[in-house]
């Protein structure tokens, strides 16, 4: 399978065991509610349906810049058509969380990494950590293409995300 080949090429040996383990557990095929853990080293990261507005690796380092830029437009100019808004982040990343939020419980999307990196999040002192209304079936940016169709690429990105999860170095200079 070409996707697996891609994984094999881009993953370093020490990660392979982990990927194999997940494959064996059939996690790769599951789309909903999957929890990827790097064991006791790194944070537990909840997977979101669809895929992100930017490559995972980029997001890991820059999501705060994106949010800062977006929030300024949102608040000060009323530009609300950006896909990379906090509201949209929450929509996807809270979708499969047991409590339906990105912040609140230990395993929630934002909390797991921020706890790991010991960086305080203040967003949700004011912002709702839960999505408004119904969760979209597809990520608003990517529409109905999803991981299937043109999704080979998307799938690759998702796997990159898992790789970083397994290296257990999130936000703080994750492995190249």
């Amino acid at each position: 399978m070409s996707v697996l080949g891609r994984i094999a090429r881009c993953l370093r040996p020490r990660v392979l065991g982990f990927v194999a383990l997940m494959a064996a557990a059939g996690v790769c095929g599951a789309n909903q509610g999957a929890v990827y853990s790097s064991g006791n080293l790194g944070p537990t990261i909840l997977k979101a349906p669809g895929h992100c507005v930017r490559p995972t690796e980029w997001m890991r380092h820059n999501h705060m810049k994106l949010l800062l830029e977006e929030r300024t437009e949102w608040v000060r100019q009323g530009i609300r058509d950006r896909k990379d808004s906090l509201e949209n982040c929450v929509k996807c990343h809270a979708a499969d969380a047991p409590n339906g939020a990105v912040f609140g419980a230990k395993q929630d999307f934002c909390v797991s990494c921020h706890n790991y990196a010991a960086v305080k999040i203040t967003c949700f002192e004011c912002h709702s950590a839960k999505p408004k209304g119904k969760v979209p079936a597809f990520h608003p940016l990517y529409g109905p293409m999803g991981p299937h169709g043109e999704g080979a690429n998307a799938h690759g990105l998702a796997l990159m995300m898992r790789e970083s999860a397994s290296t257990g170095r999130l936000g703080l200079g994750a492995s190249k």
């Binding site: 830029e69 929030r71 608040v75 000060r76 100019q77 009323g78 609300r80 058509d81 709702s128």
Partner: protein, 249 residues
């Protein structure tokens, strides 16, 4: 907005989007009044002064028992609806009685979205700001909770969030320690809707509220304020409110 414009806007990036001027690393001069960023952003961004949202309150249609606008606001913005001395109230019903004649009036009072807004002038960080379309609100990311704007607002329109807030409307983030006030439901306006209070007043209230663009000569509100006598509250202060009242002169 076209894809090209969107791309351009993103290229302009945070530098132009942030309504501020970098004078030294990490130090911003916030242009609280006119939107410098909007001018810089040119056609890609919203146009300063193209729109000026305003409201006309017909006090004759507003009855003293009716609080539909207030409940609609509380619901839309997830306010508690309590009226403790510490509760936030973005809109309130005021009952007035003329001291000499005894005539009484009932009307809603909320942020008047002043053109020369004292809250914007006094805010040390630029958190209080006027948007390109005349809407005055608080950028809660920049608010340090000094409460100077509460002191400065002539209409007592500002509230300070005293109580802990949970379960916010995702469209209306709000939290303890910052100032807040009516923002004409800008999250609804940006989606092409009218403020929640205006909608409620029209459906279940007395239909006393008229909302529209004061800068568009063809809008209903512009035509009304051009033909009938209206009052800006405390016009003597020169704040130039965007909210006007009729039937109370």
């Amino acid at each position: 907005m076209s894809e090209v414009n969107k791309e351009r806007r993103q290229l302009l990036g945070a530098g132009a989007a942030v309504a501020s001027l970098v004078v030294a690393p990490g130090v911003f001069l916030v242009t609280a009044g006119k939107g410098r960023a909007d001018e810089e952003a040119g056609e890609a961004g919203p146009q300063w002064g193209k729109v000026r949202w305003g409201m006309l309150v017909d006090t004759a249609k507003c009855s003293s028992g009716c609080t539909q606008c207030v409940s609609a606001c509380d619901k839309e913005n997830h306010l508690s609806g309590e009226t403790l001395p510490t509760s936030s109230q973005w809109i309130r019903k005021m009952e007035l009685t003329d001291r000499e004649t005894g005539k009484s009036y009932s009307l809603p009072m909320m942020c008047q979205h002043c053109d020369n807004a004292p809250c914007v002038d006094v805010c040390p960080t630029g958190a209080s700001f006027k948007r390109w379309d005349g809407i005055v609100s608080v950028d809660r990311h920049l608010c340090i909770g000094c409460r100077y704007c509460l002191m400065a607002c002539p209409y007592k329109a500002r509230s300070f969030v005293h109580h802990p807030v949970t379960d916010q409307n995702p469209d209306v983030p709000r939290g303890q320690g910052c100032a807040e006030s009516c923002d004409f439901c800008k999250h609804r306006i940006d989606e092409g809707q009218i403020p929640a209070c205006v909608e409620a007043c029209g459906s279940t209230g007395g239909g006393a509220l008229l909302f529209g663009d004061l800068n568009d000569p063809k809008s209903e509100i512009s035509q009304r304020v051009a033909t009938i006598a209206t009052l800006q509250v405390r016009a003597d202060l020169g704040t130039e409110p965007a909210v006007r009242y009729e039937g109370i002169l």
